[in-house]
């Protein structure tokens, strides 16, 4: 695993992936639709996959002494690493903003427990569609991105809007007891992310096995 990931980070990842992953810090911006953070995470993957196509990354990887399934595995490692790093980077800033910006985020959802739950769902919806579609051909990254980013974008809009609807305002709180109430959203997001990524890997690996490079 470490060799595959090393290869992804040193050769396959476009520099933009590192920049957009660092966009987790955007949760410190006083008024901003924080759903964009996750969408940046999705766009970064698209750029890296396009870059991979341009640099013949899949050919190079396929010729290494590994199995074809490992080519897919390497990409999944990279996706999960980038997205989890983005969340990790954002966490200290999400905590910090409670103290330095007590007025909250007027633009949309707060960077709270529910936000991260929704974020994981946005990620996995995009990942599932993007990755399974991409590995059908090994090169059609544009179509895969469009198919994935539309539902992921809609989910981000729903997340930003729903907290302005009175019955769901508890999802916008950063009060500790309210965030405890939001925990099921995070659990649900985590579970969906894990199951979704596992299923996406199985389907992608199966599809890529049939791809003629």
């Amino acid at each position: 695993m470490s060799d595959l990931l090393y290869k992804e980070l040193r050769l396959a990842a476009h520099p933009n992936l590192f920049i957009f992953t660092a966009m987790g810090v955007l949760v410190i911006v006083p008024a901003y639709p924080y759903g964009m953070v996750f969408l940046f995470g999705c766009i970064a993957l698209f750029i890296t996959f396009m870059y991979g196509r341009e640099t013949n990354d899949l050919y190079f990887t396929s010729l290494l002494p590994i199995k074809k399934i490992d080519v897919v595995k390497a990409k999944f490692f990279l996706v999960v690493l980038a997205q989890m790093t983005q969340i990790l980077i954002s966490l200290p800033f999400a905590i910090l903003r409670v103290y330095v910006l007590p007025g909250g985020n007027p633009a949309g959802i707060e960077a709270n427990v529910a936000y991260y739950g929704f974020g994981l769902i946005i990620y996995v919806v995009f990942n599932f569609i993007f990755l399974t579609e991409f590995f059908k051909s090994g090169y059609k990254a544009g179509k895969a991105f469009l198919l994935g980013i539309i539902p992921a974008g809609l989910l981000a809009v729903i997340m930003e809007v729903i907290v302005h609807v009175p019955p769901f305002q508890w999802l916008d709180s950063v009060e500790p007891y309210m965030m405890l109430r939001q925990l099921p959203v995070l659990l649900c997001g985590t579970l969906l992310y894990a199951i979704g990524m596992y299923a996406a890997f199985k389907i992608s690996a199966q599809r890529f096995e049939r791809v003629d490079l």
């Binding site: 060799d3 290869k7 040193r10 050769l11 050919y59 010729l63 290494l64 199995k67 003629d212």
Partner: protein, 248 residues
């Protein structure tokens, strides 16, 4: 001992089919895979390497089934795909740093020696290399992990005559000790006159002949025109076999 044995390799595309390709490459020998553009040379090589999934057929490498022992076989295999550049923005040292992690038999001293021998600067980026230097770098990677079988797809296409001659000389040197074998595809028949031991000829997806060079040439004696006495050249064989007349 056969380094590579291809048995009944078949791949069907909607408008092209590779049909029952079979041949064997022995240890210490260079085999040229010839055919005109679109004949199926690259598809054959890609099917051997599992980059393309064949519909039928078997590939044995170093006496082992390639599909079952793909990882182990690839440890002893070096591949150069013509016309495909990897990571053109990256430095050679970056690509090497990644590649060496995957090979059990990676030899750093050998790598340094080959870099020097080929005058390759590891701090250069792939895009800064000439076509010949790119092929040489891929050969350096293959030799540094002690590849016993080298598969090259059109390695000499796009090279100037001097680089081509140099590369062909290098091919001969590589098999000199009898431990390595080379399979390379080309449509430049003069390359084969210079360095191939065996020739495999593919026409329209079908194997026309696979044999030792002189036997191969003799088997096409029927193509000689009245009055011709000497052996046909490979170019004459190919041109006379493929020649078509257009009524326009």
């Amino acid at each position: 001992m056969n380094m590579l044995e291809v048995k009944g390799l078949t791949k069907r595309y909607p408008k092209f089919s590779l049909k029952h390709i079979s041949f064997a490459l022995r240890k210490g020998r260079i085999m040229g895979l010839i055919g005109k553009n679109g004949a199926g040379k690259s598809t054959t090589l890609k099917s051997i390497l599992h980059l393309v999934s064949p519909d039928a057929g078997r590939v044995e490498m170093f006496g082992r089934d390639f599909t079952k022992h793909e990882q182990a076989c690839k440890q002893e295999l070096g591949v150069v795909l013509g016309g495909i550049d990897f990571y053109h923005q990256k430095k050679l040292s970056d690509i090497t740093a990644v590649t060496k992690r995957f090979y059990e038999n990676w030899d750093d001293n050998a790598y340094q020696r080959y870099l020097e021998a080929f005058s390759l600067d590891p701090n250069k980026r792939v895009k800064e290399l000439s076509a010949g230097m790119k092929v040489k770098y891929m050969i350096v990677l293959a030799l540094s992990h002690n590849a016993r079988l080298l598969i090259f797809d059109e390695p000499t296409s796009g090279l100037d005559p001097v680089s081509r001659d140099e590369l062909l000389g290098l091919f001969r040197q590589l098999v000199r000790d009898g431990e390595r074998s080379i399979l390379f595809s080309t449509h430049i028949t003069s390359d084969l006159e210079k360095c191939a031991d065996d020739i495999t000829y593919i026409k329209d997806g079908k194997l026309l002949k696979s044999a030792e060079k002189s036997a191969f040439i003799r088997s096409f004696a029927h193509l000689k025109e009245p009055g011709e006495t000497g052996d046909l050249t490979l170019e004459e064989i190919m041109v006379r076999t493929e020649r078509r007349r257009y009524d326009v």
